[in-house]
Symmetry: C2
Subunit: 507 residues, 2 copies
């Protein structure tokens, strides 16, 4: 099968573009979904801030923290968003809540991390959301994205260790400027941002007293968890709704391939799935469907969520209901379309779907580079998978990266730098104050920390939860388990802060 590298897009309404990296036409490697709710809509929903959610500021950041070449001394403007509405102030040593930005525009993540806004009044917390270098408006090389993303000479400075050092430097400087050196900092993050939050607490314990690391697959790396685990969870999500649903989707790939090879088959598929494009490759259609199943599994939230196109509560169930509504063989394509339509067109406004949309409204393109350098997360599909069987090949992956960027991935770097092996034995003796939240409906939970390690390194596991659901704005419809989890998180964070005040009082 031909390698299609980084040129596969799945977006609708230009919203959810670039959420996948594809390596083979029949296998997609999911990116972090990041909060999928449309920001504007979310702000209105939250209703909690009438006079603007935050102020935008910039910090002069060093390009390279770890070297001293002339180039290292270059700087760039790093964006951060700040809300001091509820802050108790430096004199009271009131806490500072920092969101460690992910692989996209920080305003988008900020607007989708309602938990911090909702809890700020209770904690009298200052809120700070720091944008990750090379994303949004935090672009090195004069803010010129074309230059910054040109090739490995400039893109080389996009790395997780540099990002963490950025956060440390910015937080320390900000606290100094606010005369708030003794205000405790708690870091928050979801998905890749959650990985950064946990690693930040582990690597910079002198800067953050604790971390809420939500849906952070810090174990989704070489030799840590099975490469099948992500796929297995997607599979399980659909299987748990109905065996038939699972079988129909699992069988669809062969069915679609067979139809596509018949005279007029592609045209039939194109019409059935309402694809706008005049010409369509069958691989693109399959990718489009995979996106729908995978993303719905990740965002299988218990309440209706507002995408640009809204999703119902428990969307996987809804998809399976559509598929199960007729068990007749000849209805299959139509039922698959109906299910995909729940993800792509719940509002019913879309006339047709464009498979070639290459826009990237949330500025997520840098993840491709990160995946090709250090974020090497092996993924595969076994014979039980709802998708077609696929074995992970580091060699193929590496060759694709070399072809694209002329650099080689470092599959062992993340575990060398941040650990992962025997994580319980390690963190038990060397860290504290971390919450690892995972929702087991979320396929990324397969790479998450799911067991308590110590009294203060706690795994909160929500059987019915999806991707960083805890960090979302609360809604009236939230189930009890979700309310309880947020309450538990607040209590734990509160205990860290109390403990910190006691600890520094003794100095």
């Amino acid at each position: 099968m031909a390698l299609i590298f980084f040129h596969y897009k799945f977006s609708l309404f230009s919203l959810l573009s670039l959420l996948f990296i594809t390596f083979t036409s029949s296998h997609i490697i999911p990116r972090f979904p990041s909060p999928l709710i449309h920001p504007e809509q979310q702000i209105i929903n939250s209703g909690s801030l009438q006079n603007g959610l935050y102020k935008t500021k910039f910090f002069t950041q060093r390009l390279d923290h770890f070297n001293y070449n002339p180039q290292s001394y270059q700087t760039f403007q790093q964006r951060y968003l700040i809300n001091d509405t509820y802050w108790g102030g430096a004199k009271k040593k009131a806490p500072i809540f920092v969101y460690t930005g992910n692989e996209g525009h920080i305003d988008w993540f900020t607007q989708n991390t309602g938990f911090m806004f909702e809890k700020a009044p209770y904690f009298n917390a200052l809120l700070v959301f720091i944008e990750h270098r090379f994303y949004g408006k935090s672009i090195p090389f004069g803010g010129n994205k074309k230059v910054a993303y040109a090739n490995s000479t400039t893109l080389g400075y996009l790395s997780s260790t540099q990002a963490l050092a950025d956060y440390a430097t910015l937080i320390i400087d900000l606290k100094k400027n606010l005369s708030a050196t003794h205000s405790p900092v708690v870091v928050f993050g979801g998905s890749y941002g959650g990985m950064l939050a946990a690693w930040f607490r582990i690597k910079y314990p002198h800067v953050a007293i604790g971390a809420l690391s939500s849906s952070a697959p810090i174990l989704q790396f070489t030799d840590l968890v099975s490469p099948y685990v992500f796929d297995n969870i997607v599979t399980q999500d659909f299987k748990s709704e109905s065996e038939n649903c699972y079988k129909v989707i699992k069988g669809s790939w062969k069915l679609i391939e067979e139809i596509s090879q018949k005279h007029g088959g592609l045209e039939l598929l194109r019409k059935t799935f309402r694809i706008c494009n005049n010409y369509m490759e069958v691989d693109a259609l399959e990718g489009w469907l995979q996106t729908a199943w995978v993303y719905t599994a990740m965002t299988d939230y218990p309440t209706p969520t507002n995408f640009l196109n809204p999703l119902p509560a428990y969307p996987v169930k809804k998809m399976c209901e559509a598929i199960d509504s007729s068990k007749r063989e000849k209805d299959r394509l139509g039922k698959l379309y109906e299910a995909a339509n729940i993800y792509y067109n719940y509002s019913g406004n879309a006339k047709c779907f464009n498979l070639n949309d290459h826009s990237d409204p949330h500025g997520l393109a840098g993840w491709q580079w990160q995946a090709c350098t250090e974020m090497v997360m092996p993924m595969a599909s076994n014979k039980e998978s709802i998708f077609t069987r696929y074995e992970w090949s580091f060699e193929d992956f590496s060759a694709s990266c070399e072809n694209e960027y002329k650099i080689l991935p470092r599959p062992n770097w993340i575990t060398s730098e941040f650990g992962g092996h025997d994580i319980e034995a390690v963190l038990k003796r060397s860290s504290g104050n971390i919450i690892f939240f995972n929702g087991l409906r979320d396929p990324w939970s397969g790479g998450g920390v799911l067991k308590n390690i110590t009294k203060s390194i706690v795994a909160i596991v929500a059987k019915e939860g999806a991707h960083h659901v805890d960090l979302r704005y609360s809604t009236k419809e939230d189930p009890k388990w979700l309310k309880d989890i947020r309450k538990q998180e607040v209590e734990i964070i509160e205990s860290w802060i109390k403990q910190y005040y006691q600890d520094i009082a003794k100095i």
Copy 2:
């Protein structure tokens, strides 16, 4: 006073060159002394290894761990020394003791860390001594020191964070090759190597289960301890022997200046102190004397130690005895000479002393660069000081560095990256298994961790101890307190290893 930057040398017999960085002619900033015993002599003394102390190996190391520019992918050969004589082997998960190399040749440090050799049989430990990048034979850019040290473009890769990542990478690879992934690693280091050992445990807890950090002034940085503390301890060392001794040395600077300004005065000084050079600047003589006082304070060991020129036990006491042997004003210069002679010429073989020896037999020159980039350790002398009064000026320091290397120091980087503020409150909740040893006779102890932080982060403080005396080979004359300290260190390390076996048994 004129700035004399990096051009002041104090060596005798080319052994102890370059141990100081000077900024003003009358003020010297001490470098780490590193073990001062002559290696060959030490090996003979130890007598514990008949068939060679170690094997020399090389590891292909990445030039830049944190970036992904084409340059980052360059590699160099990193030297490490290994002794498997006593190792219990991978199957038994026998421990690995790693020395985190300092700013010089690793063989020199290895041969002076007898503690590890002497305890290896008890622990069945594999011994590994890793050379710090840019020192010894671990020179990037094809091993070409001229190129590597040419300017900041190449020297830029000499940094503590890169060195720590080198150690992590090498250890992980070595364990993999030995199939010993579950052998616990304990890191050891003295002086700068002790700082690296402590930071390694803090930053790479997944690689090292514990650290013995000996005489590591991790708090000797901006805004952490008083800049006077180093000087105060040197002063106190001499004062504790006799008030007269202190006063004579303290008064000597003015005395020497006055004599030097008289007709024939310089010649008198040159002859009195037996300086070989035909022409001598008074600043050079003062530096030569300061070196003697500072280094003797640092190495004020309780037993005779073998330099190329041997030192007696308690050499500060011996110096003061020489000075106190006559209280007549006119004998002063002669008595100062006798005291200095204890440091420079205890064997009595030297005919005269060369103030212009620029040799660097232990390859310590890179520290100049490290001090000018991140190892900014403010030092000053107050009016009580045994030396002349001197105020720390970051501006002057920075200007000197800019002049020398065309780069600016980063005075806050070390505390941003590794912490230091409120270290007790921080490490209490975020680390474990560290021994901080300090001898209070050692002026570097002023920047050390001197209080227990938790049950497993322990400060061992020897009132009568000097610079990393615990790591030295034992001798028959060792006092009880030194034997007790080494015993305590062994017991603590043993408890870490036991605990580790229990922890991984549960996985």
